[in-house]
């Protein structure tokens, strides 16, 4: 536990923030969220190419920059702050870590260099009925004919499912739940955009019919691989939530200073001041949880697991509360479509549910705490 921010991390935050301030302001977010694929490809290419952020989590042997989880957390919190519409979480966090954790060097060599460069966009297609990455209940099946595999079934809630070029898919194989790599553009893959509440993060339903697939890692190993992928992903998501929550607090405080009622700034009323003070407590506690989990996150282990559950549970509820309070402090305007408060409110709900509700993670946290 150090909580020391390095000079490199400060510089990283500064460069990502100034980039996003100019490229992903609210107007850009609104344009991207109603676009067909839900993201701005030019912005993605700059994030990946100019800033080199797509390869952060990838070892140098596969063309990445082998950064720490704490570095990744800096990027995620800035992406959250600006509600950036991007396949970053789906590709750089979920799909990339599924490749890496599979330990399959051959397949990794085939895909990771292009994922690291942002030339390919990846997505992880595991969920069917649950929000957690739980492949045990897969109804999607894998069949083997000689050395070749084919998949049939349907996946749901696939982040960046339409934007993706390559999919990592879990399916029930004879030896148990297994992971496969699938060309997302193959004719047998049918992708349908889901109509979602949080339009800043598009999702798709994807069905496979005798779709050719490459086995990723060992057959039957999906549960173990995905459990570690989920651990990494919730820590990244917690950082994103904390970054977005901080922005909600800033919006609320700015508004409370400039909105006048009864001849006074509404921020001079204790009813508003105390709400804002409580929001600050939530925001800073969420940042603490996310920072700690990121520090623990580079190595698998009991404390990495415990702190990941804690961070996802805490940051989810903190962001949801702060986003809701932000709407409340804005009053009527906070409830309008045109005002940004609604975008954060909906993002807060979608990320609260994504990869398991706070209740799910608190139960896991209890199990990690001697209960």
């Amino acid at each position: 536990m150090s909580f020391v921010t390095t000079d490199e991390q400060k510089a990283l935050r500064q460069s990502v923030r100034s980039f996003l301030e100019s490229k992903s302001d609210e107007a850009a977010v609104r344009a991207a969220m109603v676009s067909e694929l839900g993201f701005d490809r030019a912005l993605w290419e700059q994030l990946a190419g100019q800033l080199g952020l797509a390869g952060l989590a990838i070892p140098e042997e596969y063309g990445g920059s082998a950064s720490s989880m704490s570095d990744l957390a800096v990027v995620m919190s800035e992406l959250g702050r600006f509600l950036v519409c991007s396949p970053y979480f789906a590709s750089v966090i979920l799909a990339t870590n599924a490749f890496l954790e599979s330990g399959d060097k051959e397949v990794c060599l085939a895909y990771l260099p292009r994922l690291a460069a942002g030339e390919l966009i990846g997505a992880l297609a595991v969920n069917e009925q649950t929000a957690e990455l739980a492949p045990d209940a897969d109804t999607t099946t894998a069949e083997q004919g000689g050395a070749d595999w084919t998949l049939s079934g349907e996946k749901n809630f696939v982040l960046a499912g339409l934007a993706a070029d390559v999919l990592v898919v879990s399916a029930a194989a004879p030896s148990g739940p297994s992971l496969f790599v699938v060309d997302a553009t193959h004719a047998s893959v049918e992708r349908t955009a889901l109509s979602v509440m949080d339009m800043t993060r598009h999702q798709a339903r994807i069905s496979f019919t005798q779709t050719p697939a490459t086995l990723l890692g060992e057959a039957g190993a999906a549960a173990a691989v995905l459990s570690r992928v989920a651990e990494i992903a919730v820590v990244a998501l917690a950082s994103e939530q904390a970054g977005a929550a901080e922005r909600c607090l800033e919006m609320a405080v700015d508004y409370a200073k400039t909105r006048f009622q009864f001849g006074r700034q509404i921020g001079s009323f204790q009813a508003i001041k105390h709400l804002c003070a409580d929001m600050l407590l939530e925001v800073e506690a969420a940042k603490s949880a996310a920072l700690y989990a990121a520090e623990q996150g580079d190595e698998a282990g009991a404390e990495a697991t415990r702190s990941a559950h804690l961070a996802k549970a805490y940051c989810s509820d903190a962001f949801m509360k702060v986003a809701a309070d932000n709407v409340q402090i804005h009053g009527g305007i906070g409830f309008t479509w045109e005002y940004a408060a609604q975008l954060y409110y909906k993002r807060a709900k979608s990320s609260q549910v994504l990869l398991g509700t706070p209740g799910h993670h608190r139960e896991k946290l209890a199990a990690c705490s001697g209960l």
């Binding site: 150090s2 020391v4 600050l280 800073e284 603490s288 804690l310 946290l365 705490s369």
Partner: protein, 429 residues
């Protein structure tokens, strides 16, 4: 890299403490002699500057030192409100002569301190105090009353706030005194709290005296000095505090003169009174009561784990922050963060006890400590400034929100008091 530096620094300190204790811990010494030895070595306040009796280490050093003393089985350096608040206040605002006179007796534990801040008419509105300090030659004459003064009966000195001028605005007429309680004009009367214990006291001043040279920070400057005192109080109560668990100083304290350092160390190792109820205690209780599988209990305990850890981590971020604004922003959250920990822990304890939650010491599991802690927990959002005042402070100083409109801050305080009295009379007519 930074992590390694950080860890090696604290590890080195722990090694140093253990090495020093191996050579110097002597359970046969009396407590004053032991604490003098500890103070001379700089351990009492390792975070103070080296020329002020400390070692110039970061503020978390004091907690690490106390942990190592306790783990070793030695009597920890003295703590109490002198260490927590009086010493840093005097170091910040005192003259070299005052620092020389007041700080060493705090560091060697020979003088115990209490706070003489709140009054019957000045609680949350601390600056509304009316205890009067009238200058007479080379001393001030004190008349008035203080309340909620924890440990006053066991203390030698008080951090006294008194009004030296009623004809200037409220905040401008206050002065901060190092006040000796050992004199005829002082009457200390214990107050019994909800827990049945009597930690609080009322303190009455009837022509009590304080020499001019014990005025800290200058006449009329007491409110600025008080901000320093309150800052250290908030930080101390927050999840990062360490002096609360240290033995209290002073000759009136039970463990001080009569016992050997070894006996005192044992006495301190088995604390009496409402011991803190923390997550591990409750997990053990959940198992003992067969409720470890109860989803409601698991959910609440996991929430408590979140509050406890985030409180600790936020306090830690405050300590390592490299800019004062961030350090202050995070430190100010400490008290409200601690309140929710204390209250939820107390609630879970009661949830787990079933009908035994209705019992009171000496009945009930573990000598009734969970019931006692439940009663105690209601004070956590009151002492050290209510949570409502904490939220005002946070919203104004950190978030920059405006102050609530109130009576004129520029009028002489005498006029404010008169108008207050008139309003009260009209309302009760």
């Amino acid at each position: 890299m930074a992590e390694q530096d950080d860890d090696s620094w604290t590890e080195r300190l722990r090694d140093d403490v253990r090495g020093w204790l191996a050579e110097n811990w002597d359970p046969a010494l009396d407590v004053p002699a032991w604490w003098q030895r500890v103070a001379d070595a700089g351990w009492t306040a390792a975070h103070f500057p080296a020329d002020k009796g400390g070692m110039g280490l970061p503020s978390q050093a004091s907690g690490i030192v106390r942990e190592e003393f306790t783990t070793f089985g030695a009597l920890a350096p003295p703590g109490g409100l002198g260490m927590l608040m009086a010493a840093p206040t005097i170091l910040t605002h005192g003259t070299p002569e005052q620092i020389e006179r007041f700080v060493p007796p705090i560091l060697n534990g020979s003088v115990g301190w209490c706070q003489l801040f709140s009054e019957p008419g000045a609680g949350s509105d601390l600056a509304g105090l009316t205890t009067r300090a009238r200058r007479e030659g080379d001393k001030f004459i004190i008349n008035g009353q203080k309340v909620w003064s924890s440990g006053a009966l066991q203390s030698d000195y008080g951090m006294l706030l008194a009004r030296t001028d009623f004809d200037v605005p409220k905040h401008a007429g206050i002065s901060w005194f190092a006040f000796s309680l050992n004199q005829p004009g002082v009457d200390v009367r214990p107050l019994r709290e909800m827990t049945g214990q009597a930690l609080f006291n009322e303190v009455f001043f009837d022509d009590a005296e304080v020499p001019v040279e014990d005025l800290i920070g200058g006449e009329g400057n007491g409110w600025a000095v008080t901000q320093t005192t309150l800052f250290y109080e908030r930080v101390g109560i927050g999840a990062g505090g360490s002096f609360g668990r240290a033995p209290n100083a002073g000759v009136k304290n039970g463990i001080y003169p009569q016992t050997s350092a070894g006996e005192a160390a044992k006495a301190f190792a088995t604390p009496s009174g409402p011991a803190t109820v923390a997550l591990p205690d409750l997990i053990a209780l959940a198992h003992a009561k067969g409720r470890a599988d109860d989803p409601n209990i698991r959910e609440k305990l996991a929430t408590l784990a979140c509050y406890t850890d985030t409180g600790r981590w936020t306090a830690r971020r405050s300590v390592v922050a490299d800019d004062p604004a961030t350090a202050n922003r995070l430190a100010l959250l400490g008290k409200v963060a601690q309140t929710r920990i204390v209250k939820l822990a107390a609630e879970i304890g009661m949830d787990l006890l079933g009908p035994e939650a209705m019992l009171w010491p000496p009945d009930g599991p573990d000598g009734g400590r969970f019931s006692e802690y439940f009663a105690f927990s209601s004070a956590s959002s009151i002492y050290g400034g209510t949570d409502q005042i904490q939220r005002n402070v946070i919203s104004e100083r950190v978030l920059g929100l405006p102050r609530e409109a109130g009576p004129s801050k520029t009028a002489p305080y005498r006029e404010v008091l008169e108008s207050q009295r008139a309003t009260a009379e009209r309302s009760t007519r």
